[in-house]
């Protein structure tokens, strides 16, 4: 039942995008998101779309998987576009009963939908090509300067790492307990809402007990290996920016600048 859930969407490949340092990818996504939101004319959209397609091609991720990651957000995009189509004031295009579709609305709707699409593509590119663990590593290093202001960056990263590590374990355990209680005649698909909620107890209580036990065991195991937080801690694999990271970042920044410049010059603007 829970077997089909995949945590994170990471798909290991040997592409240039996969090889990039997670920090490079995080920063790039950040810049590209800014770019997505400042675009205001078709040339900018064209540039960013071409760029995103180039990235998708380089990442060696099947198009099918990209389309899958769009699925949950598809209706959101449709509704957003719909609202813009009909609720923007301007030159009338079509009458649909009390609803009026306007030219400005269509333009804005398409622009907004396109932006959302680009957003999904960029963020999917990040999660599809970076394993959850290296993502947390990247975040930890990026937020390192905040340590000086008392932000427990390392501890937070460690918590995320542990949580990610235990999600599959807990899912597996939940599945097992569910089966065991089902074998004892448990049924939470019948009865009133209150009965159904109560029927979850035989699943939740053992799950929590198991989680606490695991947490305890893990804490002992970490202490036994002298874990004492982030101070002075070194890594087995230090994150290292290489030439390709530098060029990647420069390129992304150039795209961002180009889009800002296109906006300013107003080429092709509508």
């Amino acid at each position: 039942m829970f077997r089909n859930i995949i945590i994170g969407q990471y798909i290991p490949r040997d592409s240039k995008i996969h090889q990039l340092d997670p920090r490079t990818k995080l920063l790039s996504v950040f810049f590209l998101l800014i770019a997505t939101f400042v675009i205001s004319n078709p040339l900018g959209y064209l540039l960013l779309t071409v760029f995103s397609l180039c990235l998708v091609g380089t990442a060696q991720i099947p198009t099918k998987i990209f389309l899958q990651s769009l699925k949950p957000i598809f209706w959101f995009i449709v509704f957003t576009m719909g609202f813009h189509f009909f609720l923007t004031e301007g030159k009338e295009l079509v009458h649909l009963g009390p609803l009026v579709m306007t030219e400005e609305g269509v333009k804005r709707g398409i622009a907004m939908g396109w932006r959302l699409l680009l957003l999904i593509v960029f963020s999917s590119l990040l999660t599809l090509t970076t394993s959850p663990l290296s993502l947390t590593d990247g975040l930890e290093t990026l937020f390192n300067p905040w340590k000086r202001f008392g932000v427990p960056v390392h501890e937070m990263a460690m918590m995320i790492t542990i949580a990610l590590r235990f999600i599959p374990t807990l899912l597996e355990e939940a599945e097992k307990i569910l089966k065991a209680q089902t074998a004892r005649g448990m049924d939470f698909s019948q009865g009133s809402l209150w009965r159904r909620v109560k029927a979850l107890l035989p699943l939740l209580v053992p799950l929590f007990i198991g989680a606490f036990r695991r947490a305890d065991d893990l804490a002992v195991a970490m202490e036994a290996r002298c874990y004492r937080g982030g101070v002075g801690r070194t890594r087995m694999k230090d994150l290292q920016m290489t030439g390709i990271d530098l060029w990647g970042l420069v390129f992304v920044l150039l795209v961002l600048l180009a889009i800002i410049e296109i906006n300013r010059l107003g080429v092709w603007s509508i």
């Binding site: 065991a180 004892r184 005649g185 448990m186 035989p202």
Partner: protein
């Protein structure tokens, strides 16, 4: 009166790139009243197999008949089937959740919708079967008990459903020798006195050799051999190929045989071995006397 498994195939994550064929065309008959062991390495598919017997898993193809009734079709009363085919998972103590031992054991019977009076009787009987006294432990929290006791409470929780068939997935994992013996003797008692069909899943030949009448060896999702202890243990080389070892006592007898001693090799328990060895010793004495 039996469970009949017909051309059972089970795929995990069918249609995705992660598709795994966990079970491959398994046909198997389980007779009512027998003590059957299903043995195989970790990952051989034995746990997946037994979860089909009470409808917890649905086959990708194939059928399962419980006493002639196909339980894989739509509309069968799964609750009734799960009452008749009890299932005890590995580390069953992890499924305890109630505030008292009594309530936890009563969880199954209560789901059957019987009267509270009957529930109480069943709980008392089930606890007695696993060697616990309702008066003593009934009102205690299951989480205050020792590991072995917790497991026995969990087993009582399934016994209280009064199943005709009882599936146990490695019930002795992580128990000390005494706890292991208690559980195996309990299974033997259930089988002999209450005529409960026992289906014991295990990877230990030694454990299986003590009470099981028939053995099913599962390897990589297929049934490798089915037969009596003697039949299965005769194929030592094949068992070793799939990573299963004979019980040490059987191995000893085989070695003795190879060394030229005329002993029976279909020996599975220390008791049988003792009587076989005594025979040799007696024979030798008789021969020795003749020489004088």
């Amino acid at each position: 009166m039996s469970i009949f498994i017909e051309h059972l195939t089970h795929l995990y994550s069918p249609g995705s790139p992660l598709q795994v064929k966990a079970l491959d065309d398994i046909t198997l008959q389980i007779e009512a009243g027998e003590f059957l062991a299903i043995i195989g390495q970790s990952g051989s598919g034995k746990s997946t197999l037994v979860q089909h017997f009470n409808g917890l898993l649905k086959p990708s193809s194939g059928n399962i008949y419980l006493e002639g009734q196909n339980i894989t079709v739509k509309g069968v009363n799964l609750r009734l089937i799960r009452q008749r085919v009890g299932m005890i998972f590995q580390y069953p103590e992890q499924q305890l959740f109630e505030e008292t031992v009594f309530d936890d054991v009563a969880f199954g019977p209560r789901n059957l919708g019987i009267t509270e009076e009957d529930v109480e009787k069943r709980v008392q009987n089930a606890l007695a079967l696993v060697g616990l006294d309702k008066q003593k432990v009934g009102s205690r929290s299951p989480f205050q008990l020792s590991g072995g006791q917790m497991r026995r409470v969990a087993i009582a929780g399934v016994l209280a459903m009064q199943p005709d068939y009882l599936i146990l997935d490695e019930p002795t994992a992580n128990l000390d020798p005494q706890g292991r013996d208690e559980i195996l003797f309990l299974l033997d008692k259930l089988n002999k006195e209450q005529k409960v069909t026992i289906i014991l899943v295990s990877h230990s030949m030694e454990e299986v050799a003590r009470f099981a009448e028939r053995i099913v060896v599962v390897h990589e999702g297929k049934v490798l051999t089915v037969g009596t202890l003697a039949e299965v243990f005769a194929e030592e080389s094949q068992l070793e190929k799939v990573g299963l070892a004979l019980p040490p006592i059987t191995k000893l007898m085989k070695e003795l045989n190879r060394a030229g001693k005329k002993v029976e090799t279909a020996v599975f328990t220390p008791k049988q071995a003792t009587s076989e060895l005594l025979k040799i010793i007696k024979e030798k004495r008789v021969r020795g006397k003749k020489d004088v």
